[in-house]
């Protein structure tokens, strides 16, 4: 099982590396979207510091949804997804491999870029550290939830826009705990409760979402 998972993940990462610019587009979106806020809201450091965690998190949500439609799209087009459905390995393994690849290629860059955005928003060092931890726990949730939406909207004309509508309401708990942790640190409290809940959410999503994605792929490819 691990072998199949790793080979699917490695294949997707290799494909992403071949189309480097395309793979980095969500990161570009993330930077631009977050960069627009100080221009729109005004440059007062006090205000920026307050809205920073929310802005970074919401932009991460949107960037993840932007890239998640690509998870199955090209495999669906060239027919290799059908072969994966027929393969003796369980579909859940394939889904997990693809989610891992998506997270490594689009989630991790967001996590790495978050401190830079944090500095632009005049966040304190402690808050930036917490923000990175929450994103590290939260971006896999986005990839997992996004995979359900991507599988449901496979091959639809309006699929890309639909994924936003379907998945974003379901990611609200992650957004709440992620930004809450940074808010707690900002007000001198411990972020542990938020981080524990975010971790619990990650575990629950990790157990449930691949099943839902596999079922959704079978429905879509029926």
């Amino acid at each position: 099982m691990t072998g199949a998972l790793l080979s699917v993940a490695r294949r997707d990462l290799l494909l992403a590396r071949r189309r480097r610019v395309e793979a980095l587009l969500p990161l570009g979106f993330f930077i631009i979207a977050a960069g627009l806020f100080p221009i729109g809201v005004g440059p007062e450091p006090q205000t920026l510091r307050v809205i920073a965690p929310g802005v970074v998190w919401v932009c991460a949500l949107l960037a993840a949804m932007l890239s998640v439609t690509q998870m199955f799209a090209s495999d669906h087009q060239d027919g290799s997804l059908e072969q994966m459905l027929l393969a003796p390995q369980s579909l859940i393994t394939v889904v997990l491999g693809k989610v891992v690849a998506h997270w490594l290629s689009s989630g991790v860059p967001l996590v790495l870029m978050a401190p830079v955005i944090g500095v632009l928003f005049d966040m304190r060092a402690g808050s930036i550290g917490t923000l990175v931890i929450t994103l590290l726990l939260g971006t896999p949730i986005l990839s997992l939830m996004g995979s359900v939406g991507a599988a449901l909207t496979l091959g639809l004309r309006s699929g890309a826009a639909l994924v936003f509508l379907l998945v974003l309401p379901l990611t609200i708990p992650a957004l709440i705990f992620g930004t809450g942790a940074v808010g707690a640190v900002d007000s001198g409290l411990s972020a542990q409760a938020h981080l524990s809940l975010l971790g619990a959410l990650l575990i629950a999503t990790l157990l449930g979402a691949p099943l839902a994605t596999a079922a959704a792929l079978r429905i879509s490819m029926d």
Partner: protein, 256 residues
Amino acid sequence: MAMNAPAPRTLRFHMFAAPSRFYALSGKLIPWFWVATALFTIAGLYIGFFVAPTDHQQGDSYRIIFIHVPAAWMSMLIYLVMAFWAAWGWMLNARMASMYARALAPTGAMFTFVALWTGALWGKPTWGTWWVWDARLTSEFILLLLYIGYIALTEAIDDVRRAANAGALLALVGAVNIPIIYFSVRWWNTLHQGATISATAAPKMVHTMLTSMLLMTFAFWAYSFAVVFTRARAIVLEQEAETDWVREMLRRPQGK
């Protein structure tokens, strides 16, 4: 499934599983549901507006709860019923159940919207603001988003079976997530102590108020049955357009 199902000899649970039988029976039932809707609405609104006493704190503006609270109840109930029928249709491959689910969604979304709208109308004179990001309001708003997502997904897929099953999966994922969303939103709301208003402090209710609210709930139930059956009939005709019984029915002059 039989194209032209004969009348069943005994009453069975799966009686309405055949679209043709559902179509015939619901056609007879719908007028009665409308009658019930009208009677319950008249009785409920009469008691609500003329019999129930004026609230000594909120004045007469509180009377919108006779529409607001039943609408909010219905909005949550219909989502669960919709998820149930959608799942039933998906697991057992029962087309009629999937059609019920699709027919329920717009009515549920409508009740969610009514609950939000009447809540805003009530909030303005009582709280002095149209909207607060209270836990209940936020959850209800997210529920509306879930309904819209379900409707958008099922409408975007052309293939009937795929639309039904994909919608079922989405409704189930939503139903599993609703408690998580609700509790996280509540926690978020208690942490951000910006709003000092509490929507949870329910004062004791006079009997007549409760009676009116219950009557309005029955009215909304009857309305839901009438509208959902009407919509389900349209869906049946659309999806069964190729079958013999639909063609035969359309050939008849009355179209009945």
